[in-house]
């Protein structure tokens, strides 16, 4: 017979609880007897009755220590029994904690992490508090997605420096979307799983590329948003670089696609340095940057970026069947029938990157192109546009105090009505962004708006999304086409078409006038 024992110093437990634990553990057939007591003088005396327990063994025991004893013919079984009693005492109260989780929501990230195993934080509180909450999430070791905007660049730098050092992703601030391990965070689309990894300093850029890839039969391994300022001079791609390293280490990622709004040169250099050690092929689409790189493939538009990724991973890049070609002749006829004053393109966007892309394309061909997204000429008042004007309704100044236009299309729809009624508008160009969190029927709201006017101005649109999205892309396209709206396969295709339309207007009208 062997006796094993354990002294837990400075621990008080109720005698009933101790007895209960001792008797539970004694149920095991391998165990002869057990005891669990507080180390009072009386109890110490009783403990001496155990074979092999001496006064010397108990010399350090005090009245506020717990003593756990088990005897068994098998020394290992006795030791196990003592261990079992110890762990039961230590876990007392645990089931109550679980009960709490079920009944009451935690009030802090910290409490949530104490109660369950958490890997990722999604923070969308007001920008005032977002940095503070992001710190808490980072210190819990979480990959952290900060959807909130209005966080200063300085705070973003502090957070990202820390996260970069720790190898944690800090996605944002102002990160609209991400897909981690197939899980949509924020405004994400339902896309297929595959081998293409995206890192994007642009929410709608990420959406456009991931949905295009998904529609053409391939899929996404990860889609990591970084926040629009990640490739700024201050941040120098801190999150982009961490993300590249993750994707490079990932066996399911066969190609890494980098997307960014117009980046700063030092950021590009820093990212290129990271890429130089990267074994996975990389495709870069940095808006407005002409890069001649030997080792890295680059693309000029989001559509081209997606097609290049499809090509590199051995997928076909032909248009899918649900996207019939736009009837260009019909558009040409419509454009020519407009009155001579109607010469302007009016681009009305909910996605900043989509807007930027359209401006960059238009600016190559047309004169007097202006926007509120920092490319082309600066549009002084986005709500009083003239010439070829492109407006992003998702900018900070236009979302101040109201929801993003992807959620609430009211402001854009008002501007759409005005554009259609304005005597100089020749073509309207729109983007429609689907996915979780977006308006449930953006196409319907556009069609309803158009119906309130008697305009014959042609409208060209592109729909960013998939058929698995809550709004269903093909259904949205059907609604638009039924109302006579031209729907192109991609934002770039729509922009190209609009530019072409504008050249038809300006090239042919003088002849008409002289005839």
């Amino acid at each position: 017979m062997t006796t094993q024992y354990q002294i837990l110093h400075d621990t008080y437990h109720d005698s009933v609880q101790l007895m209960r634990i001792a008797s539970d553990v004694a149920q095991s057939p391998a165990i002869e007897t057990t005891d669990a007591v507080m180390g009072t003088a009386t109890n110490r005396q009783t403990l001496l009755e155990f074979d092999g327990l001496t006064e010397a063994d108990l010399s350090e025991v005090q009245s506020d220590d717990v003593v756990l004893v088990a005897t068994s013919p098998d020394p290992d079984a006795a030791a196990e029994a003592v261990e079992e009693m110890t762990s039961r005492l230590e876990s007392a109260g645990d089931s109550e904690k679980q009960h709490d989780v079920a009944s009451e929501a935690p009030k802090s990230i910290r409490r949530a992490c104490k109660d369950s195993t958490i890997a990722v934080a999604l923070i969308s509180v007001s920008g005032t508090y977002a940095a503070r909450e992001a710190w808490k999430a980072l210190h819990e070791g979480l990959h952290t997605h900060v959807f909130s905007d209005n966080v200063s660049l300085e705070r973003e730098h502090d957070l990202k420096t820390f996260a970069h050092k720790k190898g944690q992703l800090l996605m944002g601030p102002d990160c609209g979307t991400a897909i981690l391990n197939g899980v949509p965070l924020g405004f994400a689309n339902e896309v297929s799983t595959g081998s293409i990894g995206l890192v994007s300093a642009s929410g709608t850029g990420l959406q456009a590329v991931s949905t295009h890839i998904s529609r053409h039969g391939a899929g996404i391994s990860q889609a990591i948003g970084t926040g629009g300022r990640d490739l700024s001079e201050t941040i120098k791609g801190l999150t982009t670089r961490t993300a590249i390293e993750y994707l490079d280490s990932d066996e399911t990622t066969d190609v890494i696609v980098l997307i960014s709004k117009p980046p700063a040169e030092p950021a590009v250099d820093a990212v290129l340095e990271t890429i130089s050690t990267c074994e996975t092929p990389v495709i870069i689409h940095f808006q407005g940057v002409d890069m001649n790189l030997e080792t890295v493939r680059t693309a000029d538009t989001l559509e081209e970026t997606a097609n290049l990724a499809l090509e590199v991973t051995g997928n076909k890049s032909e248009s899918v069947e649900s996207d019939p070609e736009v009837d260009k002749n019909a558009l040409k006829t419509e454009v020519r029938s407009l009155s001579a004053a109607r010469t302007d393109i009016r681009g009305l966007f909910v996605g900043g990157t989509l807007c930027t892309e359209a401006v960059l394309m238009a600016d190559k061909t047309l004169e007097d192109v202006s926007s509120n997204v920092g490319v082309g000429k600066r549009l002084l008042d986005p709500l009083e546009p003239s010439g070829h004007a492109f407006i992003d309704f998702g900018t900070d100044e236009l979302t101040m105090g109201r929801p993003h236009p992807m959620i609430d299309p009211t402001v854009r729809n008002e501007q759409l009505r005005e554009a259609l009624e304005q005597q100089t508008t020749g073509i309207v160009l729109l983007d429609i962004v689907l996915g979780h969190g977006s308006h449930q029927d953006p196409a319907g709201s556009i069609v309803d708006t158009v119906a309130t006017t008697d305009s014959n101005v042609p409208i060209i649109a592109a729909v960013c999304g998939t058929d698995d999205d809550p709004q269903s892309r093909s259904e949205q396209i059907r609604i638009l086409r039924d109302a006579g709206i031209y729907v192109a396969d991609s934002n770039a295709a729509a922009a190209r078409l609009a530019v072409q339309g504008a050249t038809w207007m300006t090239a042919e009208r003088p002849e008409e006038g002289s005839a």
Binding site: D10, Y12, H13, D14, Q17, S63, D64, A92, G93, S95, E96, D100, E104, A105, P106, K107, S108, I109, R110, R111, A112, C113, D115, S116, I118, A119, V120, L122, S124, V125, T128, Y129, A131, R132, W135, K136, A137, H139, H143, F147, S148, R155, D158, L159, L169, L180, N181, G182, V183, P184, L185, G186, A188, T193, Q222, Y246, S249, D250, H436, G437
Partner: protein
């Protein structure tokens, strides 16, 4: 599913927009939605300060763990009875009082009454008018009990001749003190100063104290942690309910007292005095708590509270990482159950050092184990569970020595974190007696109150200012 960023079964915590949850859950990934609210009353300057502290969070957490562990690991033993002049080093005409520092001019009714009583008791003036003049003259110095490692319930007036319980924290070697509980009814701590009150004090000093001193020595000290643990399992929360604690104490002391060579009538009177006063254990419990909070004080970077105290004029708190500095706000009248003939209009604003109980993790924080207490607010036992559960949101650790049976022996929430109070908007709960606002009338009720938020906001801003440049205030250093 890929496991690049997390493993199967890991969850996502959502803070903010609720509509983001459903798409995540549809992928069979668990989501914990934080019940988040903007930090109440926090202005832009304080938000900036808190955000700047973000980077230092590991240092702060580490400091808080240390401070909170000191609360848990304290081993308070009642060792002795000593006279206050010696024990607290009270020179000349010095009186200790409950709460943060206060002047005679600003002193509340009950505290003034107790001062008038104590001045007569010490013989510094004859009669209540003379005592009042003496108190106002500037000859008498007033110091917070807290500054001398002591605590006193309600008015908390300790004068040099009074007998104090000496409690040693054997885990850290520090000592804390409290006066002895005078009983109920007309007593000094509620501002009464009649001749009966003074005679009772005299008896306590001359008769009770010497016997207790002998008994405690003969017993080789009384383990207050053990008594409190047991009392908590018997329905006390060792602040506003001390029925079990007092009974356990009598059970412990009576056999030893019986062996002393004393007049049986005197012994009978002493045992009856203790046994009939359900709050006798309170002062011992308070000294035990104080011995723990003093050990947790002065931990650099720690945001753990080391004092919450009231003087009927102001409510004050101290923060471990900010040393002895008090952060105060006007004390409020407590909502509670009033004895017949009295109402809220008669009540003194919150008063007493007894909130040291909550500061160290018992009292209101242990209410789950003391459902009877909820009667003071006409509440339901279920509410008692709710109060304790809520306090887990603002505390650093759980004291498993103080296991709560209704919460499946979960430990009491311990170590109030200033930052969590600020960010959750949850104010610490305090169980308390209510004194009449006029001196000499006594206790008129009891209730459950919340620590006022204003002094927490001031303290948080002071903390941000102090630690902004990663410098520890000079006076703060760990023992």
């Amino acid at each position: 599913m890929s496991d690049l960023f997390f493993d199967d079964g890991d969850g996502i915590v959502n803070v903010g927009i609720e509509s983001f949850i459903e798409p995540i859950r549809s992928k069979n990934v668990p989501v914990t939605d934080v019940d988040w609210k903007p930090y109440p009353g926090v202005d832009d300057e304080l938000i900036d300060g808190l955000t700047e502290l973000g980077e230092h969070e590991p240092k702060i957490r580490d400091a808080n763990e240390r401070a909170a562990n000191r609360l848990v690991e304290a081993r308070p033993i009642w060792r002795d009875i000593q006279n206050a002049r010696t024990a607290l080093d009270l020179e000349g005409m010095t009186l200790c009082h409950a709460g943060p520092p206060v002047t005679w001019d600003n002193m509340s009714g009950p505290q003034r009454g107790a001062v008038i009583g104590a001045i007569q008791y010490e013989g510094w003036a004859d009669g209540k008018e003379a005592a009042r003049i003496k108190a106002a003259s500037g000859d008498v110095s007033f110091v917070p009990c807290h500054d001398r490692s002591a605590v006193g319930p309600m008015a908390g007036i300790i004068s040099p001749s009074m007998a104090l319980a000496v409690v040693e924290n054997e885990a850290y070697g520090n000592t804390a003190y409290s006066n002895l509980n005078e009983g109920l009814g007309e007593v000094l701590r509620f501002g009464a100063y009649t001749s009966d009150v003074l005679e009772n004090l005299e008896w306590m000093e001359q008769e009770l104290a010497p016997v207790l001193k002998q008994a405690v020595a003969a017993h080789d000290g009384i383990d207050l942690k053990l008594l409190s643990s047991k009392a908590l399992q018997m329905g006390d929360e060792v602040h506003n309910r001390n029925v079990a604690g007092t009974a356990l104490l009598v059970r412990e002391l009576a056999p030893t007292i019986a062996t002393l060579d004393e007049d049986p009538h005197r012994i009978e009177k002493i045992l009856s005095f203790i046994g009939n006063n359900e709050h006798f254990f309170l002062n011992l419990s308070m000294a035990a708590c104080k011995s723990a909070t003093d050990a947790a004080a002065n931990v650099p970077w720690s945001t753990v509270l080391t004092a919450m105290a009231r003087n009927g004029t102001e409510f004050g708190i101290r923060i471990s990482g900010l040393g002895d500095e008090w952060f105060t706000t006007p004390a409020k009248v407590v909502d509670g159950l009033y004895f017949s003939d009295y109402s809220k209009q008669d009540a003194s604003p919150d008063i007493g050092d007894s909130s040291i109980a909550e500061t160290s993790g018992v009292g209101g924080f242990a209410m789950a184990g003391s459902p009877a207490i909820t009667q003071f607010v006409g509440g339901h036992p279920q509410e008692a569970l709710g109060y304790t559960k809520q306090m887990y949101e603002i505390t650093i650790t759980e004291n498993t020595n103080y296991a709560l049976p209704p919460l499946n022996f979960r430990g009491t929430p311990t170590g109030i974190d200033l930052t969590q109070v600020i960010e959750t908007g949850i104010q610490p709960i305090i169980n308390t007696g209510i004194a009449h606002k006029e001196p000499g009338i006594g206790q008129i009720g009891a209730g459950i109150g919340r620590a006022p938020r204003e002094c927490f906001l001031t303290a948080m801003q002071a903390y941000c200012n102090a630690y902004r440049n990663e410098t520890v205030p000079v006076e703060v250093s760990e023992q």
